[in-house]
Symmetry: C6
Subunit: 86 residues, 6 copies
Amino acid sequence: MATETLLPLELIDKCVGSQIWVIMNSGKEFTGKLLGFDDYVNMVLTDVTEIDPAEGNTQLPKILLNGNHICMMVPGGDATEVLEDE
Amino acid sequence: MATETLLPLELIDKCVGSQIWVIMNSGKEFTGKLLGFDDYVNMVLTDVTEIDPAEGNTQLPKILLNGNHICMMVPGGDATEVLEDE
Amino acid sequence: MATETLLPLELIDKCVGSQIWVIMNSGKEFTGKLLGFDDYVNMVLTDVTEIDPAEGNTQLPKILLNGNHICMMVPGGDATEVLEDE
Amino acid sequence: MATETLLPLELIDKCVGSQIWVIMNSGKEFTGKLLGFDDYVNMVLTDVTEIDPAEGNTQLPKILLNGNHICMMVPGGDATEVLEDE
Amino acid sequence: MATETLLPLELIDKCVGSQIWVIMNSGKEFTGKLLGFDDYVNMVLTDVTEIDPAEGNTQLPKILLNGNHICMMVPGGDATEVLEDE
Amino acid sequence: MATETLLPLELIDKCVGSQIWVIMNSGKEFTGKLLGFDDYVNMVLTDVTEIDPAEGNTQLPKILLNGNHICMMVPGGDATEVLEDE
């Protein structure tokens, strides 16, 4: 059972190079490929889609997201294409 | 009486592998099994239900929650199935 | 006069095992017995009442409150039964 | 001119034992005597008045305010009785 | 080109003794002379004007602003009297 | 594939001397040339435009932005003139 433990930074580290889905505290949502992160959970994403059902999605080539304002990260890009890594 | 003391990280550590109920500062609520956490109270949950009375619940296989935005954690998954650990 | 000084963590430490009243930044309010805390002012409460004048109070056996989102702590449980400790 | 410099913690330190006026990020306001503080600007106040023009003031014997949520501190208790310390 | 680099704390340090314009995250705005600051970007201002177009400006002799809640700092006091320091 | 990794501070460091687009947590947006930054992602910008579709843009010669309140940074100034740096 001990092998089931998964630390937050381990989960993020497994996602480098893969699609993730990030929900900011303000409600903004992004999907993109995770290029890197640091101990503050700041993240660099590439090939980013800002998801905005009201005004339409926006494509951005590369962004930095401040870890302070990231509320939740879901591996796999969005709820329909989730990563099963164990 | 001194044995009654329970540090925050001790409480979280006891919950690894068990169901918890997490309420974010934004009002979002999640239940799921706690896979791991770190000193910033970032948490990895698996078999997650995002509880949304208005729009219906969402199932997510695995998420990272930013400790900055976690307001409250209740051991036991929800108010109706609480963990009595002493 | 120097003896009047009271550091924040000293005040919290005096409250371990006693009733406190906690007001979160979001407006949520809790009373309960303080079981423990850490340097980030994260707190573990037991025998908790979440005070909600609009929807009614909720009883919770044990919770973790994130120090980041605690706005104010009042020793004594609520405004009517305050602790006079000097 | 160099003597005009006043560091934040120096200003707070000068206020220990005196009346201060604290405005929280949420808009809550308190006046009271500062009993102590720490490096996170957490503060312990005594003989506190929570100022609430809408619902009336509340007296509290002793409170802890989380430095995270303190927006502004004015030496002197309120805008009408300010401390002139130079 | 390397000489063009200006670190955040260098910019603030240059402003000690000068007028600055501070915009808080809540929307509050202050102008005043910067007396000091620390690594958390907490600031002490003197001869302060709280700018409030709706309810009128307020004069305050000395205040502490919590760096956590400072959103933006503009050297020069306000947009009309900016500091040109290079 | 390992060379694809890009750490947050590496991305910011590449942007020093270039145009960036910064979106604050409050919704404020700025474009300008990045003069410097620190480990807290505080940033100094020069030749700044505060973008405000409602009230019109404002020019500011130099500002400090608090990293705490920066939500997102996009290299390249705005969505229409993005930096392709690999």
